[in-house]
Symmetry: C2
Subunit: 299 residues, 2 copies
Amino acid sequence: MKLLRNALLETFVAVVDCGGFTDAQFALGITQSAISVRIRDLETALGYRVCERGRGGFRLTERGEIAYAKARDILRSARDFDAELLELRDVTTGDLRIGVVDAINTLADLNFGTVLKTFLDRSNDVRLEIIVASPTELTQRLITGELHVAIAPFRNQVADLTYTKLCQEEHRLYCGRDHPLFDLPHDKIDLDVISGYQICQRSYSMLVSPELQPTDPKAIVANMEAMATLIETGHYLGPLPVHFVESRSQSGKLRELAPNRLHWTSTFYLATRAINLHRRAVELFVEDVLKSRDAHTDR
Amino acid sequence: MKLLRNALLETFVAVVDCGGFTDAQFALGITQSAISVRIRDLETALGYRVCERGRGGFRLTERGEIAYAKARDILRSARDFDAELLELRDVTTGDLRIGVVDAINTLADLNFGTVLKTFLDRSNDVRLEIIVASPTELTQRLITGELHVAIAPFRNQVADLTYTKLCQEEHRLYCGRDHPLFDLPHDKIDLDVISGYQICQRSYSMLVSPELQPTDPKAIVANMEAMATLIETGHYLGPLPVHFVESRSQSGKLRELAPNRLHWTSTFYLATRAINLHRRAVELFVEDVLKSRDAHTDR
DNA sequence: ATGTTTGCATGAAAAAAATTTGTGCAATAT
DNA sequence: ATATTGCACAAATTTTTTTCATGCAAACAT
């Protein structure tokens, strides 16, 4: 059911997403002719052309770009609005837009997969959307309402959001099989030795201790897989979450460096805007996350 | 033109505002019968009853109350959305919702009336809405988007809003004709004498100096007129803006107390959310306010 | 009590709006 | 040159919305 539907805007967004009228037919379930009329009506109402189309290809106009962005936003709000009104009865429905950082699957203490399963097992008709991004970006998207909840190691917490501590993640420094340090005895490896080599940085985190912070890192990655790949080249040292290394049974390909001295923990939080808790779907998901957390800490 | 119109919700809100179907006919320009069908459709879509109606009177249900509040909010957003898209061509249109504190008309350095006149003289088709409330309330409404701009002596400024200094307002302490202090010579009046009498407080401001702050004030008002009225009873002393007293030619009815020692100034700011400046109407209004301010400070 | 008025519901008819069908046109690909 | 693709448009059709006419029940007046 759609309460705050709007054919014109939905058509516009669908057409842009499909890159033209022809494909949007199937997405919208109406004929190309109807689409043509709708876009014409939209443009008449707005008083300007939103896109160039025809055999020459499909392209948004300058104003069309702005209108598209705004239209997508308002349609998202409209979906959330619908969900809020519908959830006044007891059904759980609407969007649930979750943001996470990457490599969260193997975080045992969180057990993201199980949480999702628990949530979905209620057999509700929630439309799930999972976005992977950096903590900074997740914060931004929470504020704009693009996300309902996010799970990440939030370092700088903003006032508009509420954070709930979830679990710890342990990071250690690794090197690959081809790296000079791979076969060196433990007692020969100290901070001085390590700091002689290139360290690959995580773009959004400041995990590595200050003394190892290279002034001008030669490699920066925004993804855990990419970090592991770079380390495996043997050209870089780099920090990785322990659970990530173990789960990939890469133990043979990577070596921990100075495990006693070099390990950092980052704290994972669940973040959300208070207003989102009015949404039943959000409330239930948060409940599931916390239940999972407590199940782990109780042991 | 309405782009993101929604007949069902608009009908619902209109019906609530009109207190029933019969009056809403004229507000909406459709027959009572059509309204009946629309409300029925809305309730079918939502799955619950939003209001009780009939000869017994009109009353929102519990869920209806919530739905009404949400519907009004989303319709407001929808109007703003329309305006944003329409203003991509060069017309200035849509809502302009301005918040001010009371007794702002006589604030000469601001000249609110002239600013409004300047704005309206552009003969645009902006729907103006002016809300009078306390600074705290104005701040709240700016954040929720209920207001686009506000002019008030904002004391605690929040991060989400941007403030621009406008002008100063001078306050002094006054007493009414029937007050014991009205005829006392100047040199007999000092802080000690004054603090022996009841002082009427402005509910939202902390203007009166700490030493005169009664621990348990006997009178609190949230309105300048009310403050003046109370002072005129002769039972209270109270602070008033100088321009306010002068403009009402109340000079004879009120007396300044210790004008040299007891005067406070509050600073007026223009506040807005950065996002609102995307609206042409808002941008132009802000421009007008600042132009008026500069015209005064230049002299 | 009884009749009247008020406020809303409902079915049928009418009006309005949106969609499909069928076709044409222009730019591109073959 | 011919076929194809992507869209526009007019007429016909379907769907939705509104009005009209009427009914009903609760409140009100007498």
